[in-house]
Amino acid sequence: MIEIQNLYKRYHGPYGGGWVLKDINLTIPDGVSVGVVGRNGAGKSTLLRLIGGMDAPDRGRVIRKGRVSWPIGLAGGFKGTMTGRQNVKFVARVHGIKKSLHQLIQEVQDFAEIGKAFDDPVNTYSSGMRARLAFGLSLAFDFDIYISDEATAVGDRAFKAKAREAFQQRVDHASLIMVSHGEGTLKQMCEAGIFIDQGQAHWFDHIGDAIEAYHQTTKVITDVADEDDEEDVPVEQLDTDSLKAKLRSLKREMNELHKQQIITNYRLETTTDEMEMASLQEEKQYLRRRYQQARKRFKVLKQHKQVSTLTTQTPRAE
């Protein structure tokens, strides 16, 4: 259980401003997973840091009953010159683990799946490998409450699926407090919701209501709950640079979607459970639809780019 009493928080220093969080009173019961929603800069991550004890409130207090994790997948504490194994050992020692140290290391190693690189300095890791190690490390400990700041957004698609699965297993006997903009993820993982607006936190017993309240204030109507729902700006309003960036991001999105399609197909082939089969079919359809949408948009933009480069280059040629 986490109790937040009369909590105030502001940032100090030359760039500090007014209250980020103002007089927040909340009780998060045991075993209830909570999703935190709100605008960018509303104070979601600040609240999470305060709950995790990484930052101290200016007024009020946070009472933690039970073991609370550090934000899942945070790789900040790794020392570059030390190997993955040494870093894992360090964190385990800080948490007072002695007897089952080797078992824990083995678990992290198995989960992260980075092979021999586990004994190389963390400096040499790619960002994906770092994320895998950090995620594996967070999940190797048995916490009562996990806190997560956009956690499942690390690693490649296959790893994400694995992470999400591991996460859901955890949610059975532990709870989760997560900040995310992915409404699909929130609905999937959480029961209750906290909506943060203008320094105030509002508690909702159902995550759907919290998301609804969030949409009400931002006046954005989105019935498709989706991680990356960007609005389509008319092509004519884009300048060359943003056009290029847009093309690049679309390309990436298409690649991702393609990869996801492959994974879904593979899972379809291997699964035997009928329920899962149905949901996978649905997912496949959905992925295909999105892929086609992305491809259409890509083609339009590309055409436009060719036209615009032609028109901008001709006066220079004269």
Partner: protein, 270 residues
């Protein structure tokens, strides 16, 4: 994923137990970082003081001339002074970067900004003591008279100098964490400190009427006291008083720790 992991004894751990676990883990981490940072780190750790001392001795012996120290041989006198001074200097300057260097660790709420600072002070003292013992051993093998006449007194003075460095280091680690310019100023000041602390020039060379000002500097007390314990016949200036040094060490240490308590969240937050 297997879920048969050990229960983290977090909620049942006593606060002192948590601190101890953190210190033990950080000590190992810091030691690895110091000795294994690059392939020759451990070599330079030993060779660097040898090289600097050799250069200093060369300067003093062949450029400035005049190697007569009353009651002590020149080379041992120099080594004792430099080792003592480096112990103080490293214990003071190393902790200053500790908070910044370990910022990432504050994601684990068990770790406070004071932990890396204290651990660095401790590690520095251990490493310096090890190097000093190595010097004494090698010096003795080379027939340089580096065996202290009053070993216990030397140990006390060595500890005192270390504590002086730790006190200032803890204080400056907070100060430089809050005001980054402090770090730069301290780095500028440490160079003249080498000259006014009687490390390379004996304090007895200073005219009698100015010696009282020299005694304001607590390092002089530490170094001269250590030399007095080291060499039975050594003569120093009057007024060497270890109480004065300890007054400095304990007051700065207390102030530093109090400031660490007061500004813990601000040091973390930056």
């Amino acid at each position: 994923m297997a879920t048969n992991t050990e229960q983290i004894p977090d909620s049942t751990r006593h606060p002192l137990r948590v601190t101890w676990d953190v210190w033990a883990a950080m000590y190992l981490r810091e030691m690895i970082a110091r000795t294994m940072a690059d392939r020759m780190a451990w070599f330079w750790m030993v060779f660097e003081p040898i090289a600097t001392i050799a250069v200093m001795i060369f300067f003093r012996a062949y450029i400035r001339g005049g190697r007569s120290i009353t009651g002590a041989e020149f080379i041992p006198w120099m080594i004792v002074g430099l080792m003592g001074f480096y112990l103080f200097r490293e214990a003071m300057t190393r902790p200053m970067g500790a908070v910044e260097a370990n910022r990432g660790l504050f994601t684990y709420r068990q770790i406070l900004p004071v932990d890396p600072v204290l651990i660095r002070c401790f590690v520095e003292g251990m490493i310096r003591s090890f190097i000093f013992l190595l010097f004494i051993l090698i010096g003795s093998l080379l027939k340089i008279n580096l065996i202290p006449d009053h070993a216990f007194g030397v140990m006390m003075d060595w500890t005192s100098l270390w504590m002086l460095g730790v006190g200032l280091g803890v204080l400056l680690s907070v100060a430089s964490g809050l005001v980054p310019e402090v770090g730069r100023v301290v780095k500028i000041i440490t160079m003249p400190l080498l000259l006014i602390s009687g490390v390379i020039f004996p304090v007895t060379y200073v005219p009698a009427q100015y010696q009282q000002y020299l005694l304001w500097n607590p390092i002089v007390h530490g170094l001269e006291s250590m030399r007095l314990s080291f060499f039975d016949n050594y003569h120093s200036i009057p007024g060497i008083d270890m109480t004065y040094l300890w007054f400095w060490a304990l007051s700065t240490l207390t102030l530093g720790l109090v400031m660490h308590v007061r500004f813990a969240s601000r040091l973390k937050a930056r």
